[in-house]
Symmetry: C2
Subunit: 565 residues, 2 copies
């Protein structure tokens, strides 16, 4: 059996190696345009920041062996043609036409073909795009170009266009290298896969680190001589010695399209669960491939290294006649922004609405482990559940606390179709250095249960602000924190009765009996208690501000940001 694999980064080498493991008699050839195989593209920002010292580390196995063509030949028995391009596929005769570095062409026959052609950065056709020092970050060569500039002995103004994952990772990397960094984002927020209140936390963190964030801002063009000097935006011109274009990636499908293979709605290769394209002898895997969102069952284009590896395995198994299937993705995402993390799985609230769900949400900021441990850090957790089925739809976590643990737990729960009641019963591990006795995830699930059971009615800070500021509205913001806490950051207008005094001073609220009362505290745990007290005293229109003052994105928030518990 002759197998040709086009693309040598993630899905390709995985598929190739697995085919040989399944069937040592197979003849497998990888065709790769570049020099390198199996390099860790996700490590490039850390190579640029200097956290990863040598390029070689990104191409090595954990043992330190560089995955070059010799390695693939000797260890995996996979033939590698690097510096070689696949230029055409002849499906009828089952051949791939290749072009070598020296421009010679050749036809290679295949029984099965795997397309692992990846994705490429989108390069919008803006005036000035061809100026020097406008980079994308996709290949090792891009990283080397950026690093060369950084080695110059001067402070560099770097403008990052696009506040997605690569954009924010690059912002951190360049700031760590001493650049003055701005991020320009067309949408109203960075990290568009997150809901705005979570993205706002990250924007705040960037700003605290001196990084300028321009959201809702289009780039018009680039100015300069040979090199870029200015990024002209709708709002203001930005000085730029370097520009990083990170406005997304597009699947590399031209080879496939030109031989008549089908692409999906997302523009990526359409495949069945066995990773077969519309031609059963041709598979597609990795970043060039469309996949299914496990929650919406709709096609999705969410390129990820982990997914590419799974694709590669499934394609290899199917090629070798071993039953397997790729089920789909949740779009799990994580990125580091200095000491902060943002992580997500499943649907955001906005995505849930767009997909036609009736979502119920909770915002729960709390210490990430026993609050009395000095290393406890603040973790903001947002859960989104399906009101009808009580199933978890998505989870977002942010902050200096441990986010990945909670999001991986949520990803597992969503995959299993768990309800929030199931989640509240999870037996997660806890000891003071690792988690509170009631893990943040369980607390959040219980808040959702309270909301779904009608015991608690939440309102988001944004909605609360709007209501209370509306002229002539009969809405009271009741802050039940201690006077000392309120002195640190008061919301205006609001009234303060500390929770401990609420029962004894309830008559202070007599005049508000017919008002809507929105209760808040630091995280809205005391707020919840207060709302229950008010209800027991006959107040009928009582809401709790989701996430408390910690989720209040307006004035006064700065003081309570950061490493605070």
């Amino acid at each position: 059996m002759k197998v040709i694999v086009i693309g040598g980064v993630a899905a390709g080498p995985k598929a190739a190696s697995k085919i040989i493991r399944n069937n040592p008699e197979a003849e497998v050839t990888i065709i790769e345009k570049g020099e390198f195989l199996s390099y860790a593209g996700c490590g490039l920002p850390y190579y640029i920041s200097g956290v990863v010292k040598e390029q070689k580390e990104l191409m090595s196995t954990p043992i330190g062996i560089v995955r070059d063509s010799v390695f693939f030949q000797n260890v995996k028995n996979v033939n590698v043609l690097n510096h070689t391009e696949a230029v055409a596929i002849d499906r009828k005769n089952k051949t791939v036409k290749i072009k070598r570095a020296n421009e010679t062409e050749e036809e290679l026959p295949y029984d099965k073909l795997v397309l692992a052609t990846g994705a490429s950065p989108v390069k919008p056709q803006l005036p000035g795009m061809t100026l020097k020092n406008i980079f994308t970050l996709h290949e090792v060569e891009d990283a080397e170009g950026i690093k060369n500039m950084l080695s110059e002995n001067r402070v560099i103004d770097a403008v990052i266009i696009g506040g997605g994952l690569i954009g924010v990772e690059m912002a951190e990397a360049l700031a760590e290298r001493g650049c003055r960094v701005s991020i320009v984002e067309m949408l109203d927020q960075i990290l568009p896969m997150f809901d705005s209140e979570i993205a706002a936390l990250m924007e705040k963190r960037f700003e605290e680190k001196g990084i300028k964030i321009l959201t809702g801002t289009k780039v018009l063009c680039f100015d300069g001589g040979k090199e870029v000097h200015k990024v002209m935006t709708e709002r203001e011109p930005l000085t730029a010695d370097m520009v990083i274009m990170s406005v997304g990636v597009r699947p590399n499908v031209s080879l496939a399209v030109s031989c008549g293979l089908e692409t999906g709605k997302t523009g990526a290769m359409k495949v069945n669960p066995q990773m077969q394209t519309s031609d059963p002898n041709i598979y597609a895997a990795g970043d060039c491939t469309e996949t299914v969102n496990l929650i919406t069952n709709k096609p999705a284009f969410i390129p990820r290294g982990a997914t590419a590896n799974k694709h590669g395995r499934v394609a290899a198994n199917d090629i070798c006649g071993i039953k397997d299937g790729f089920r789909g993705v949740l779009g799990s995402t994580i990125c580091k922004i200095f000491d902060f993390t943002a992580a997500k799985t499943g649907l955001s609230e906005r995505e849930a609405r767009l997909a036609g769900f009736d979502p119920v949400i909770c915002l729960s900021p709390a210490p990430d482990r026993a609050h009395f441990m000095p290393e406890a850090k603040l973790l903001y957790l947002k859960l989104v559940a399906n009101r009808k089925t009580r199933k978890l739809l998505g989870a977002q976590a942010a902050g200096s606390g441990v986010c990945d643990k909670r999001i991986d737990t949520a990803a597992t729960a969503i995959s299993a179709g768990m309800t929030i009641d199931d989640m509240a019963n999870l037996d997660l591990c806890h000891a003071p250095p690792y988690a509170p006795a009631m893990d943040n995830m369980i607390v959040a699930a219980n808040i959702l249960r309270n909301k779904l059971d009608g015991v608690m009615i939440g309102i988001k800070p944004k909605g609360a602000k709007k209501k209370v500021e509306k002229k002539g509205s009969s809405v009271l913001l009741l802050d039940v924190r201690s006077p000392a806490e309120v002195a640190e950051n008061k919301i205006e207008p609001s009234m303060n009765i500390p929770l401990g005094k609420l029962r004894s001073e309830i008559e202070k609220l007599d005049v508000f009996k017919d008002w809507e009362i929105i209760v808040l505290c630091k995280i809205s745990l005391r707020g919840y208690e207060a709302a229950l007290i008010l209800k027991s005293k006959g107040f009928e229109n009582v809401k709790v501000m989701d996430g408390g003052i910690l989720m209040w994105p307006y004035a006064g928030r700065r003081k309570i940001q950061g490493g605070e518990k």
Copy 2:
């Protein structure tokens, strides 16, 4: 409705508060023997070590409010009788007889009663047990006694009897305070909920930190004048200024038993999923209560703070007529040993066998995030699956890498009844600072799939050693690491052919064609590749040593321990 709650630590206050939240009209009284309510018992070792500075922090809410009787009255509207003991229950007349600190007695009527009487440390009746400075660790007062001794200006010899969770946490705490520490354990290993190869990693770490471990050793008696000076064991006498007895806890059920309530097989209170005892008006919750192991469906006594909280909520809901139920536990466990963590959920391999399962296991040591990140740490992962159903039965993690994330993910997967195929498809989050592209959990699941699919046959280091050392056996240990790696720690007898040369030097193995060949490398990934190469070359009896040299618990291992990737 009058509710009496006996016990004010975890399940009791939780039940009391939740009842009032559910039903503000309820009259709820907590009866507590001691001074304190809702204190974090699990924080005591960290109070002793000095990580937690003040006792008060263990009794406070995350906001810093001490949960005393005034707090419960004002905030929760719960009446608290502390320094008060419940001495008898009259089920017929539905009253509890209480005794106050001043010895006065009183009868309190109840409609519903919640027993949250907790558990107490086992104190074996050994000669000398009444000597001074023999402690258990259960209450704040115990911690104060230990701290008083530590404040003396001398090096203290501390002997810890029992290597369970509290024992190992205390060993760390006392070592951090400068004590010379020994642990004496009757069983063959410390941390008996873990399989021996995982416990061995922790024993090694203790020894590296200068802590003496005596396993398989019974304590005979204590010697001393007024104070303890020596612990006499079967093996050797140990100098002791201080002894910590941590040989387990027993549920406090005497009050319940004397009024005729049923206990279960484990000796703890028997309850239904609504936490009702054999008297439907009496509930039991928390450490005094038996629960169900979700995997075996058998009764279990696994006291945990998180479980107590869940029990309290369920009991409160049922008392208030709200549908709820406690489902059971997985025995999730975590503890810190200096820079190491040991964490577990579900069944160990031994427990799985005892429960009648046919377990298949994998041992997977690997970096806990992208291996090129400088902060990557080694994580040892062991999964146990049911050979028949392919469902995950348990997971154990240890090492300086991030363990809790993987174990919480596993706990969620087990709760959902996931197979290892489901797990291999999980969309977990990854970026270099947080996880490898193929998370350790997914790699481990894939190893299990390979084993279950018959593609890989594993053998544990212990079994490999036995086989190869047997005189006249035709068993070859084939080490496929590089010569440089082998030079660092060679297993004798073994043969070395680096993986990259195995195909070209295969004839070296011609004489072993009929032998059993056990292949190994550092972590057994190259070992697996080598085994496949051998099989493709006609070798029929090939096994892979589970976990590679990193799981080899014999000579030469020290060199590769610790922060090594």
